[in-house]
């Protein structure tokens, strides 16, 4: 799934970057710590015509805007069973291939439609389609999201998320789009329902009475995730794990992963995570659940290798080099000479990476806390 932009760098630069990132601790080009994110600018509520909107600009100039609109839709009845009658605890899983009750399964994934627009790319381009699939998969993974859209047995909300990348894609846009989507969903509000039961729904005209899709109350009696998921881009060079990679760092990655996490508020997890509701001073310990890990083909695989001095005819070596010698020369790694990484991710590295993301006080916690703090004005 090579959905990354090809970054043009010389073999000498690539070798230098790789060497710098392989040190302990790694020296990143802009001097950040391995788990430090670049400062970003975030705001919500920029589009009053939508149910929720957000805009995030990264420090490298990439910018994305997400708008959420909701429309009331009649629920399809399937096979005589009235839709929405049975809601299994924990929700139904993703729509593909899992056996579950009648209409809920089809209803879940159909009630959310997510489209991604990237300037210059068609919407059926492979890269764009994958981004849209990854973002919506993370959203629907726990199956509980669709429950928030239920109005009554005959109607539900259909949520349209339109993700726009404003700047041309200078670096892999997945983390930017994911954070912006997360923020837009946090800011989304639905009008308050005034009708009762299964009658045709009508709503309160007062927008101030509208309630958030993801309410902020700390009451953890609700069984759904209190927050939408977030997807992070993580890469590894040797044994170093690096978060929020810039495009030149991605160009030398041994392995790059997109990790989706969400809060886990199932019953078992809430008792395990010692949440004390009365103690307002203590931050609520959040237990996180890994939703998905996807490997991303780093652009490093497409880079041409450097030529070691011994084989460089411009360096004085004779051009009449025998073929087998040349082949063995290529197979060995010469220090200072760039070679595209071969092979996949080491399992130990993957495990360490997941651990780092999910641990208490780890990266995912920090991100979710920081996004929480954004004013939803």
């Amino acid at each position: 799934m090579a959905s990354t932009q090809h970054v043009l760098l010389s073999p000498a630069e690539l070798a230098y970057l790789h060497a710098a990132l392989s040190l302990t601790p790694p020296i990143r080009p802009d001097g950040r710590a391995p788990a430090q994110f670049r400062p970003l600018v975030a705001e919500t509520g920029i589009l009053p015509g939508t149910n929720g909107s957000a805009r995030i600009c990264f420090a490298d100039g990439t910018e994305a805007i997400v708008g959420v609109k909701a429309e009331v839709e009649r629920t399809r009845l399937v096979d005589g069973a009235t839709a929405g009658t049975e809601w299994k605890e924990g929700g139904s899983a993703r729509g593909e291939g899992e056996d579950d009750d009648g209409g809920d399964k089809a209803g879940d994934s159909d009630w959310v439609e997510l489209t991604v627009e990237i300037p210059g790319y068609r919407d059926d381009d492979a890269g764009t389609a994958f981004l849209a699939a990854m973002l919506s998969e993370a959203l629907l993974a726990d199956g509980a999201f669709a429950k928030r859209l239920w109005i009554n047995r005959r109607f539900h909300w259909k949520l349209y998320l339109d993700v726009l990348l404003i700047s041309p894609p200078l670096s892999y846009p997945l983390p930017l789009l994911s954070l912006t989507t997360h923020l837009a969903l946090l800011a989304t509000r639905l009008p308050r329902l005034k009708s009762e039961g299964d009658e045709d729904p009508f709503f309160d005209d007062d927008w101030a009475a509208a309630r958030h899709l993801f309410p902020r109350s700390s009451s953890s009696t609700t069984k759904e995730s209190a927050r939408p998921p977030v997807t992070l881009l993580v890469m590894a060079v040797g044994n170093n794990i690096i978060f929020d990679p810039a495009k030149e760092e991605l160009a030398v990655a041994d392995v790059a992963l997109a990790v989706s996490v969400a809060e886990d508020t199932t019953a078992a997890a809430t008792t395990a995570a010692t949440m004390d509701l009365d103690d307002a001073a203590a931050p609520a310990a959040r237990s996180l659940r890994l939703l998905s890990i996807r490997t991303i083909d780093p652009p490093s695989r497409l880079t041409p290798p450097g030529v070691p001095n011994a084989a460089n005819s411009a360096y004085g070596a004779t051009t009449a080099q025998k073929q087998p010698e040349a082949r063995t020369a290529e197979a060995e790694a010469v220090e200072g000479v760039w070679r595209a990484p071969r092979g996949g991710a080491k399992p130990l590295v993957m495990a360490a990476l997941v651990q780092k993301v999910l641990e208490k006080g780890g990266v995912a916690d920090e991100i979710l806390d920081a996004l929480d703090a954004v004013d939803l004005g």
Binding site: L47, G49, T50, S53, C57, D60, G61, T62, E63, I65, G67, V68, K69, E71, T115, E117, P119, G120, Y121, R122, D123, Y160, D162, L164, I166, S167, P168, L170
Partner: protein
């Protein structure tokens, strides 16, 4: 009906409280995106658009930015041939977000209306930009529509102009655009109907209107688009009102650019130039 009610003839106020010759609130900013060559953000009332300009740069290397409609280059002076043009090629791409209108609507790829808008804007800017200074290059203009409430083409043209000024592309003058309409429908056949300036969405749907763009504050019209039926006797009045509105728009755009420039000079980002007043003969 926005104007058929008696309210108009009594107080001569439109639904949003404006008189016949008042523009809506225009808010504009340039340099909204640091990574791009030129960028701008423009609001006319509730119509909000963003524009990003890349270039002039090598054509082909930015092929991706040409049109989300796949294949079709939005207008420009180049024919189908592979020959290098004598001037820069202006390629426009427009993305209308699904959440821009009241009902969420996904615009199909290759939508004719979008293609036409792209072509119009490309021709309008090519008329003003000094493209002969950059042969063998391309200027890519990428527009995003965030919210629509009438006067879409006018807003797009203004935003594109601002972004090109921000990118430092030499041009003859600003291309300023606005819409004008008439207070009664075609069917009413009212010869004495007043013209209106700057139509919002509701007015655009029900009343005849046109979009006009001029080159700077002069009377030279660069763009004139009228997609509704109107008696020709009313047309001149609408056009005059529109051209006058364009003058006002040009002033507003100019103020935005000057303010930005002033700030840059004050902060030392840009060195002060020579005063216009002390151009003495040596």
């Amino acid at each position: 009906m926005p104007l058929d009610t008696s309210a108009y003839s009594l107080a001569l106020l439109r639904v949003d409280g404006r008189r016949w010759n008042e523009l809506r609130r225009i808010h504009a900013q340039i340099r909204t995106q640091a990574a791009a060559d030129g960028s701008s953000y423009l609001e006319i009332g509730h119509t909000k658009v963003m524009c990003v300009v890349t270039g002039p740069s090598e054509p082909g290397s930015r092929r991706g930015a040409i049109g989300s409609t796949g294949g079709g280059v939005g207008g420009g002076a180049v024919g189908g041939g592979a020959a290098q043009s004598k001037g820069a090629e202006v390629a426009v791409s427009i993305v209308i977000a699904g959440f821009s209108s009241v009902d969420r609507k996904r615009t199909a790829r290759g939508d004719k209306r979008i293609l036409e808008l792209q072509s119009t804007i490309s021709n309008a800017l090519a008329a003003s930009l000094h493209t002969h200074l950059f042969p063998h290059s391309a200027i890519n203009i990428s527009l995003h529509v965030l919210s629509q409430d009438g006067s879409l083409l006018a807003a797009l043209i203004n935003a594109a102009t601002l972004a090109c000024v921000d990118a430092g592309i030499p041009m003859t003058d600003y291309v300023a655009a606005c819409t004008a309409g008439s207070t009664s429908t075609y069917a009413a056949n009212d010869e004495a109907a007043d013209p209106l300036l700057d139509l919002n969405h509701q007015e655009e749907q029900e009343l005849p209107g046109l979009t006009v763009a001029t080159l700077g504050g002069s009377d030279r019209v660069a763009v004139l688009v009228c997609e509704s039926r109107v008696q020709v006797s009313r047309l001149e009045g609408m056009l005059a009102v529109g051209v006058d509105g364009c003058k006002q728009v040009r002033e507003i755009l100019d103020r935005v650019v000057r303010e930005k420039g002033r700030r840059m000079v004050q902060e030392g980002t840009v060195e002060k130039g020579v005063g216009l007043n002390d151009m003495d003969v040596d």
